[in-house]
């Protein structure tokens, strides 16, 4: 989607962390900063983090801005501004700082965490005091104005962002604008090397969107009109976005009593002819695997979005990881061929989820979409993905004719599906092994024929160019998937800037594996660096199991909760590129 020239890593970019205790309003301020930059023609993203408290604990808005598209966080934060220092050290690992970093604190708000701030340049900004001077003023707006000014955001963009966020009629608007202005004045004359080169255009036509919203929208574009789900972090917002949207487009969302119900409701609706979806995260996904197997055996199209979080078990619900790869690929009992795809950016959550619906409907198979917390909950400025014609096209059996066989052994493996209500085609969908007609059978020949058929469906279809993102040349390749693709792209851009030729291969289609295609994609490659966010190297093992990789392999596999950093990958590429 991005041209090589526009790769991040070479672009001007600034990373800002705004922190404070709950209620200090750093999230609001952060959102305004992001939106202001977007209005000024920049790209950017914001993720949120907070302490264990359900409400009211320490919180941080982690923002990165750039004048070219970016897809993940940088190695370090340039600016840290803390409305107060409450428990800031809990974020030490999430907010890496360096000698270039500037840490801004309110001298009246307690002791700063010295270890974390060691080596940074320190600025004092009496935010509380300055706020007091503005009627109704709040420290977060002072911080916003100060930071915006330091990094060089235009006044009008910041004002516009504040107005948009609060609404023109909001009582707090004058005080907020005045607070921003006061912050800006306080920044006057403060030297700051971290200036944001402004973007081209003014952001019009771009979107501010999370991966969860993008996935929800992609699902609707794919034709989903029924969703059943049970809330779970970090998938809930996808459902919350979809619920009103679905009723707007003539569909519906049903809140189920649990995940066992939600997937079976989706299966029921799909059996009835309506493209259906459910979304969940690891623990809920685990509860769905029995019924995913039913969808495989009974050949019911359905999409399950797993917005992954750190595992195992309840793990760290608010943090990202790619460690549901194993269960998504191999977590069904019996031989149960199904499809697993993964978006590799916030924007791609849209296209890949739409594609997933298409694949499910076309092959009458369950499709798992592996998104994750870091894509799902990051709000990002993106160029809207191009419209794609990927509407689900289910092979539907038409009335008339005799002896309808629901599970007929066709060359493609796909058999036309009768939709209830159609005269003359009545059949029973079955998770027991069955004959072509659908009658339960324990005969070896029926079992083999249906196992072959269900596999054939996946072998016979052309998954098209969307199966992977392949970019660049060179004897070194980085092979990755999902949200790791963002930092990998950035690392590759840096390596290229160093003069190292590196190829990117990011797999969107994880199952069925396409070893031949991957072999072509890696043609001429001597060294493959595998990058994934798991502890045990799940992707690496999957690659070995399913593909013939004769290049030299190295793997970076790190668990959550910290994001993959482009610098770590870059370092490995550079090291490996030495002859």
């Amino acid at each position: 989607m991005m041209t090589s020239a526009a790769r991040p890593g070479t672009a001007s970019t600034v990373s800002v962390a705004m922190t404070g205790s709950g209620g200090s309003g750093v999230m609001t301020a952060g959102n305004m900063l992001l939106e202001a930059a977007a209005l000024a023609g920049c790209y950017g993203l914001m993720s949120r983090t907070s302490g264990p408290q359900i409400r009211g604990g320490e919180a941080a808005a982690l923002i990165r801005l750039a004048n070219e598209p970016i897809e993940g966080h940088d190695d370090r934060f340039d600016l840290l501004i803390s409305v107060d220092w409450l428990n800031l050290e809990r974020f030490a690992a999430e907010i890496p700082l360096g000698a270039e970093s500037i840490a801004i604190g309110d001298p009246g708000q307690g002791e700063p965490p010295t270890a974390m701030l060691a080596g940074t340049r320190r600025l004092a900004l009496p935010m509380k005091e300055l706020a007091k001077k503005v009627p109704g003023g709040r420290a977060n707006m002072i911080a916003l104005g100060y930071v915006a000014s330091l990094i060089g955001l235009p006044d009008d963009a910041v004002g516009e962002a504040v107005r948009r966020t609060l609404g023109a009629q909001d009582d707090r608007l004058p005080a907020s604008l005045a607070g921003v202005e006061a912050g800006r004045r306080a920044a006057a004359g403060v030297a700051c090397p971290h200036k944001l080169a402004l973007g081209r255009g003014r952001g019009a036509g771009r979107w501010l969107i999370t991966g969860n919203e993008a996935a929800g929208y992609g699902a609707l574009k794919g034709g989903v009109r029924f969703v059943a789900a049970y809330p779970i972090t970090p998938a809930t917002e996808m459902l919350e976005w979809m619920s009103p949207a679905l009723s707007g487009v003539g569909g519906m969302l049903v809140q189920a009593e649990d995940e066992l119900a939600s997937i079976n409701m989706a299966i029921g609706a799909s059996y009835g002819g309506t493209p259906s979806l459910t979304a969940t995260s690891g623990p809920g996904f685990a509860l769905m695997t029995e019924s995913l197997g039913l969808a495989v055996a009974a050949e019911i199209p359905i999409v399950v979005v797993d917005v992954m979080r750190s595992g195992p078990s309840t793990g760290i619900p608010t943090k990202s990881e790619q460690s549901d790869l194993n269960i998504a690929l191999y977590g069904l009992h019996g031989d149960a061929p199904h499809v697993v795809v993964a978006p590799n950016s916030v924007a791609d959550c849209l296209t890949t989820t739409q594609w997933a619906v298409h694949l499910a409907e076309a092959m009458q198979v369950p499709v798992v979409v592996l998104s994750d917390q870091s894509m799902g909950q990051t709000r990002m400025v993106i160029d809207p993905p191009p419209d794609r014609e990927l509407d689900g096209a289910r092979a539907v059996a038409v009335a008339g004719g005799q002896g309808y066989q629901r599970y007929a052994l066709t060359p493609s493996g796909v058999s036309p599906m009768a939709i209830p209500g159609t005269p003359g085609l009545m059949y029973t969908a079955d998770g027991l092994e069955h004959s072509e007609r659908g009658t339960p059978s324990s005969q070896a020949r029926d079992h083999l024929a249906q196992l072959d058929k269900r596999k054939r469906k996946l072998d016979a279809v052309d998954f098209g160019a969307h199966w992977a993102e392949i970019d660049g040349e060179g004897e070194i390749a980085v092979l990755t998937w999902g949200s790791c693709t963002g930092p990998v792209r950035e690392a590759i851009a840096r390596a290229r800037a160093d003069g190292i030729a590196v190829r990117l291969v990011s797999l969107r289609l994880l199952s069925p594996a396409h070893p031949d295609r991957l072999a072509v994609a890696l043609h001429g490659v001597k060294r493959v660096l595998v990058v994934e966010q798991t502890h045990s190297g799940q992707f690496y093992r999957y690659l070995r199991a399913e593909h013939a990789l004769d290049a030299e392999l190295r793997a970076i596999h790190l668990p959550g909760p910290l994001p993959m950093r482009p610098g770590d990958i870059h370092r490995q590429i550079v090291e490996w590129s030495r002859p």
Binding site: W207, M265, G272, S291, A298
Partner: protein
């Protein structure tokens, strides 16, 4: 009544050619016959009806009818049926299964289906045993019924399906007996006609693992009182009878749950506006 009566399918047209796997004498045969009669009486066509089940002897029902059928996994029939019905309100949806499927592994969906009150009918063929897995205690089994898995019995109080259905909000509650073909057909037809979630507990003997249930035909008799629309009264009656009063016991007036499926009011482009800067 203007439709040409001659074209309406008869009970036999609702039976498929698939031979049931049931043991000779199993109560489920009677339920199948009653169901096909009821569908004929209701004037439905096989393609308008979907029968959804889980796993168990009784859950084999769908394929023995000529309707659309769904034979899913153990315990999840009501969830499948719910998804189907709310997305396709034009269909007549009937869930069917056993006491193990519905009250043990499927107990949560039973609770919430009653509460949700989707317009469908749930028929449980209760034989107080897991037939399919060869004779273990189900939730409705007597506490002292001896069997290999729980020698001497489970010692547990039997689950009271009708009371729970009432307490959790089913809108139509009835008890039937598989040996009473005509009566059961009538109850099924009334259940299907009744809006909202209709629950029928059918006493359906397992002649293989509970041969003593053959005696049920001596015990079952029509309920001496007509159905009530007062749940408390219905509950009292059910709790005090001996479990063999047959008939419709409760009919409520709750509105069924059916999310509106209107014509699309918003275009996808329109939704995308929400993301635009």
């Amino acid at each position: 009544m203007n439709a040409p009566v001659a074209t309406l399918p008869a009970a036999k047209d609702f039976k498929s050619e698939t031979k049931p796997v049931w043991c000779p004498g199993c109560g489920d045969y009677g339920v199948l016959t009653s169901l096909t009669r009821a569908l004929a009486d209701l004037g439905r066509r096989p393609e308008e009806v979907a029968i959804v089940s889980g796993i168990g002897c009784s859950s084999r029902m769908p394929a023995y009818t000529s309707c659309y059928g769904f034979h899913g996994v153990h315990g999840r029939a009501l969830a499948v049926a719910t998804g189907l019905k709310v997305s396709r309100p034009d269909l007549t949806v009937i869930a069917a299964g056993g006491d193990g499927d519905g009250y043990s592994i499927g107990g949560n969906h039973f609770l919430h289906a009653c509460r949700r009150n989707v317009d469908m009918t749930y028929i449980v063929m209760d034989n107080h045993v897991y037939g399919m897995t060869k004779g273990q205690s189900s939730p409705t089994t007597e506490p002292d019924w001896d069997n290999a898995l729980t020698p001497g019995g489970t010692g547990l109080r039997p689950f009271q399906p009708l009371v729970i259905a009432l307490a959790s909000g089913a809108n139509f509650v009835a008890r039937a007996f598989s040996g009473d073909i005509v009566g059961t057909a009538d109850i099924i037809a009334r259940a299907v006609r009744s809006p909202g979630f209709s629950f029928i507990e059918v006493l359906s003997p397992c002649v293989t693992f509970r041969p003593e249930q053959r005696e049920w035909k001596e015990l079952a008799r029509p309920s001496p009182v007509p159905p009530t629309d007062d749940p408390a009264r219905a509950a009292r009656r059910i709790m005090t009878d001996d479990g063999f009063n047959i008939g419709v016991l409760y009919t409520g007036r709750r509105e069924p749950y059916q999310p509106e499926i209107g014509r699309p009011r918003r275009s996808l482009q329109d939704l995308a506006q929400g993301f635009a800067l």
